[in-house]
Amino acid sequence: MTFHDQVIAILPKLRVQALSLTRNRAAAEDLVQDAVCNALAAQNSFIPGTNFSAWMHRILRNRFISDLRKRRETTDIDDVPAANFASPATHEDSLALKDLSLALSRLPADQREALVMVVIQGMSYEALAEATDCAVGTAKSRVFRARRQLEAWMTGEMPSNDKLRVKVKALREAIDARHRDGKSADDLFLS
């Protein structure tokens, strides 16, 4: 398999990694394209026979971090619109899935990335460590902490300072109440 064949073959996995990092489909597409450009420009630095997957995932990750640093000079990362993991509404029509999407968006990017690469891509901790340029123990810890935090949030343990989740819960309850009364809830989104 040539270098370019390997780039094409790994694109679906890069997309998943990019979405896990950016939380936004459009941003993920841009990130994949930028990472591919970087990889093509640096193809001579790839040693054939070594781990192409890890090399490519590291390039995408480094590009994400580099872009983030540039953006942080002008914007606060918390100002970035939250989760847009699944754009087709029909696939996200259960409240639980929406809650999971929201909870994922609140995890640190490195934990979210680690969890997704292990669960969705079936990566071993060793492969994850190589792809994210960290120790195996760090990779394990990121996945563990992500699972533990999500379980705490999804089973109702709500940190007292978790203002976003409290706000969303209150909004959902208000919307449900309006719908029960047969009234529109559109104005609630304007406040």
Binding site: I8, P12, A86
Partner: protein
């Protein structure tokens, strides 16, 4: 396809109880619902063209 995902050892896999707990099963299903579509979408022509142009240099 790629070397990284095949280098799994039994010690490198997540613990069975983490995956098989009710929450683990639910989480795995939820993540697949959120991410599988993205992985399965067709690759944009623009991106494929970029790669092919570089291949033909």
């Amino acid at each position: 396809m790629t070397g990284g995902d095949k280098s799994q050892s039994s010690s490198g896999k997540p613990k069975v109880e983490e995956n098989d707990s009710p929450f683990g099963i639910w989480l795995s299903r939820g993540l697949h619902q959120l991410f599988d579509d993205v992985a399965n979408e067709p690759i944009p022509d623009e991106l494929l063209k970029l790669i092919e142009e570089d291949r033909n240099k």
